[in-house]
Symmetry: C2
Subunit: 672 residues, 2 copies
């Protein structure tokens, strides 16, 4: 028989026997599971911003019919003790919920604890027995005992009062009705609850983290510009002072963050020429991402931009306009970077003793040396990389756009972000990781505050719905904040190349309303749309390799659109939240229809995605979700034009003509 | 500005700084996440049966473009060392899979490890550079170095060979083409792979458990009978010997497990009379679940059933028919149980010194004392409860049907099941937990081998589809094995009460084909369907409170149906697996259509759920999944009748008349 041999196999196993029972280490009496929010069993923190209400859910249950009680325990940065938030449950669901406000930035932790509510259980049974006319003499004594037990935990007047109540309930000399009344009185219940014995409470076995960021981590409009292009005069290398002169305009347009590509000295060796050519002239300025020259590395500024003092002045000027300066953090070196001489051991060395340039065979990037993050001296290299960040933090930088983080160890990012945020929790990291989904997500989980997204490649209605639903309606909402850049120096999408000005206006409206944090790279507002060649997403005469002088007031610019949409964003809470997005039906697939909802601020947004022609549709308004009666008329106001429309019922007519400058409605539900 | 105050809040926080970097505790270089199967972060084991192939999946990735390698590490009971199974990945998915066979019962563990495949990465780049006509002199030296590094880890002839290869690749005197050929040769790759340096491999940070049960944990037909009813003579209390005389018939009908309600002495105090009345006569035999009398408790047998030796003989007789005996494990005591005198401290004591009977206010169950699992002496009580199981294990019992486990601590079950299975991994526990879903699931997760289900209450097509889809297509498939009892002494569903014999035949067919493990409680085969009263699911004259003598060959019995379906189950692998179920479209909602699939054994099952009338439908055969060409005719054979049908295309006609004894087809796809 199989059983015998199976048994002897088990006897051979030597598997550890279950732990011997010990009264000192009692197993849990209540089970707690299914906590939300919880990311990968608590391996990573979820993200919130200061002021958010954190809603905690948990499945809490035990055997039998006893009543339970549960609470959230939580602790903010700097708290020496735990705070508690009560939890309540939905009948028969075993699901408990509670909430608390994270009122300052930094790393928070929370957990859940639960226990059998002995008094509530007793009271419930007592009441039912009373109602059924059963003898409750013994039950009164039980109730009295619980009051007496609480008395021993209580202090002062409450202790005295508990003794009085315990005695009155137990006292056969007191009229029965009075004993019952005392036992059922809410005074007793609240006193016992106050001095409940939680020594046997079950605590969820993990503490879960919450990274609480400042508001701008979730709500901001970004503007990317190359400072060297800001002189406004052909042939002259722009400076920080030139860049600072653009700040008032950017502030007027409603931007919150100005992001500068690398501002460091640029290498000469294998410098790239215009349009990424390999034969530069002496005048070519090179790519700012080829960081480092004899003039310095990641903590130096390019001499043609000015001095570090000039940079400090730029940061101060930005602060006066309430604009954050974001720097590029690109961990790679030109062959001329000081580290190449000082720390050749931080790079990959080939058998012939030369340092290895970057490659993705057979492609070669000879102007760039990658760092060897796992070299023997890695702890010092990692510390040096951290110190670069801390250097710029000292110079007032609180936002870093991180170049290609997916080509550096994930462990490094988890370490360095915590290292910086431990002392500077206001620092924001944006991951430029255009890579496969799992790596993108992991970078967000391990600490990046924001992430670039696939948004630029999502231009049709169904792909926008699908992607945004994943971002905002799955657990990604808890850790991945998509910063919706509509273009970048690397990405000029075919949709913009072909669709012209209407396409630019459509994409701006989408970026600024689908996500609470979005950005443009300069030139977008001038509808620059000429690619390097057909089929390429690279710009012709890309600013990555040369200085570009632009006329910001040129005809056809989108400054008015930018100013308007950024103002609408600032005036409407619904556009400042990230995951409050739902899509609704539009009968014409060329027209996208979605809702952004905040308390008292409901926006219904309708966008014609066809940049070439007018489209009309019936949109299906989610009346039930909006709390609108089916028969009742309601008013929506287009925040872009001020026009009001009276709508009725689910289906309502919309026609949008991007060619005639009307690509979208941003309709606010007027509740009067 | 906000930033300043935020910063000082953080400075006050005292939050631990990130750990200092140390070369000795390097962070992982490869990320491993999303392991399957994994249950609640490894908190609980998944379940398999001996002989199963365990398919392991994992998301494995690192930064950059390096090629990776991964493997499953696993260890069976008794293994002193780890075994390994290679993993492969689907291009661009970051998803790796590997598998291994669990070839014996007991507790297995597995995990995943992954590392950068330095040589494969090098070889891939080398080949691309060669193809692009680039100079690869240095690359050859790099390849030679890798061979030399492997040489230092190799032994014997392979070490010598690696040295030869390393030298040949590096030797400028050897023709270039020969050096290249040597570097690209599979001999070198396999030698280097064999001696790969895994010291830097990343190991998934948890070991995940697999409880491997014997086959009958997943595939069995159960028969429940009260031994006291087996005398076959009215008025005489049946014995184990009487019960044993039924075994040949049960074996002939194809049953694998005979389950006996409690066989222990029955209490006298507050004994229940017939039909659960409170005024029994002296002749009333009482409920077997009121366990314990002066004659003994949970390790005694009821004297009227025989002696413990008689019981042993019953177990032996069952074994001769390859039938397992399942006992009821009901942890409660009648007031006459020996423990009440010997260990009053194991019960709930009221303030007046009396022991508390079971109650669910205002309902009282005075014939039962619940055990106080959290009494001060709980470690001894728990051990005593375990010893009850071990006592019966010593008497050859390997299967326990556990009564109301959800009214005893979940922690207790987790402990006691591991405690028993550590030495006896062949022991099967079936949870009778008719409770809310989360508690039911938790009991299954923490160790119960099988679970009763809501199946008896799922009689319509949509509710059957929904419930079975949850059981077999969600992660429940990994831990919850539903034992589909079609009736129990507590549950005579209205569907059976009203539908009569056709309903019984329909439910039998559903139970026996929807789940690989199912059961009937005796009387079902006689279509007993009279409830205690209208609206009740209790049987009239319930066997729980009296002896029931039955004529097993009475007209209208389902013995032929039982024998046939159990034979079909034994002959068809598809009916022996649990989660291999998919539902398919039937145009008439009264007819359910589903597929059970196993390699080489595809069953299409069609059941008319309407016991009152014939129904016809077009069923939609999943041709693509079955690999059948749309144009090609195919043959299906009804395993219940032997009739063959030639079908063609997706839609095929079926008519079933339960009243005329044809309630279902169990169609095997004939592949010839």
């Amino acid at each position: 028989m199989v059983m015998r041999s199976e048994k002897s196999a088990a006897e051979r196993s030597g598997e550890a026997k279950p732990a011997k029972l010990s009264a000192r280490k009692a197993p849990p009496r209540v089970e707690i599971e299914g906590i939300s929010p919880e990311l990968e069993s608590g391996r990573f923190p979820v993200k919130r911003v200061s002021g958010d209400l954190v809603e905690v859910g948990a499945d809490v249950f035990k055997d039998g019919h006893d009543l339970l009680a549960a609470r959230v325990r939580y602790r903010g940065p700097g708290d020496r003790t735990w705070s508690f938030a009560p939890m309540t449950y939905e009948y028969d669901s075993d699901r408990w919920t509670g909430s608390f406000v994270v009122d300052r930035i930094g790393r928070w932790v929370f957990s859940v604890e639960a226990w059998m509510d002995e008094f509530a259980t007793w009271k419930d049974g007592f009441r039912k027995k009373l109602d059924a006319g059963q003898d409750v003499t013994t039950e009164l004594l039980e109730g009295s005992r619980m009051a007496a037990a609480a008395e021993h935990r209580a202090r002062g007047a409450e202790r005295v009062r508990l003794r009085e109540l315990a005695e009155r309930i137990a006292d056969g000399g007191v009229p029965f009705s009075e004993r019952v009344r005392t036992a059922l009185d809410s005074e007793l219940e609240s006193l016992i609850e106050q001095y409940a014995d939680l020594s046997g409470a079950t605590r969820y076995d993990r503490e879960l983290g919450i990274t609480v960021d400042r508001e701008r981590a979730r709500f901001a409009a970004w503007y990317e510009m190359f400072p060297r292009s800001q002189a406004g005069v052909p042939g002259r290398h722009g400076t920080f002072a030139d860049a600072a002169r653009r700040l008032p305009d950017l502030a007027a347009l409603g931007f919150d963050v100005v992001y500068l590509p690398p501002i460091h000295p640029i290498g000469r060796t294998f410098r790239k020429g215009k349009n990424n050519t390999l034969d530069p002239t002496a005048d070519d300025v090179g790519s700012p991402w080829a960081i480092g020259s004899e003039e310095g590395g990641h903590t130096a500024v390019h001499p043609d931009l000015g001095t570090i003092d000039d940079f400090d002045r730029f940061v101060e000027a930005a602060a006066e306009h309430d604009i954050d300066v974001a720097l590029d953090y690109a961990l790679q070196c030109s062959p001329d970077h000081p580290w190449v001489k000082e720390h050749p051991e931080w790079f990959f060395v080939r058998p012939d003793g030369t340092i290895k340039y970057a490659e993705n065979p057979p492609k070669r990037y000879q102007d760039i040396y990658p760092l060897n993050f796992w070299c023997d001296d890695w702890p010092r290299l990692w510390a040096a990389c951290r110190d670069v960040l801390l250097f710029w933090v000292e110079h007032g930088v609180r936002t870093f756009r991180v170049d290609n983080p997916h080509t550096k160890p994930l462990s490094f990012w988890e370490w360095v972000i915590r290292e910086v945020q431990a002392d500077h929790p206001d620092v924001i990291f944006l991951a430029e990781a255009f890579t496969r989904p799992k790596r993108m997500k992991r970078l967000a989980k391990l600490g990046f505050t924001q992430s670039y997204t696939y948004f630029t490649w999502r231009n049709g209605a169904s792909e926008i719905r699908e992607y945004l639903t994943e971002l905002t309606q799955t657990d990604m909402r808890d850790y991945f904040r998509g910063n919706f850049f509509v273009n970048t120096p690397d990405i000029l999408h075919e949709y913009l190349q072909r669709g012209g000005r209407p396409a630019f206006r459509i994409r701006l409206l989408l970026g600024a309303t689908l996500s609470s944090v979005y950005g443009i790279y300069s030139g977008f507002e001038l509808c620059e749309n000429v690619p390097l060649r057909a089929g390429s997403e690279e710009y012709l005469d890309s600013e990555k390799y040369e200085i570009r002088v632009r006329d910001w007031g040129a005809p056809g610019n989108l400054n008015a659109d930018l100013a308007k949409i950024n103002r609408v964003r600032r005036e409407n809470r619904a556009l400042q939240l990230y995951a409050n997005l739902t899509f609704h039906h539009s009968e014409n697939e060329q027209i996208l229809f979605y809702r952004k909802a905040a308390p008292g601020n409901d926006l219904l947004i309708v966008v014609n995605l066809n940049p070439f022609a007018a489209e009309a549709t019936m949109v299906h308004v989610p009346l039930d979700e909006l709390g609108i009666d089916r028969e009742q008329a309601y008013v929506v106001e287009d925040l872009l034009t001020g026009t009001r429309y009276t709508w009725r019922g689910v289906r309502n007519y919309v026609r949008l003509d991007p060619v005639a400058e009307q690509a979208a409605h941003v309709l606010r539900l007027v509740r009067e």
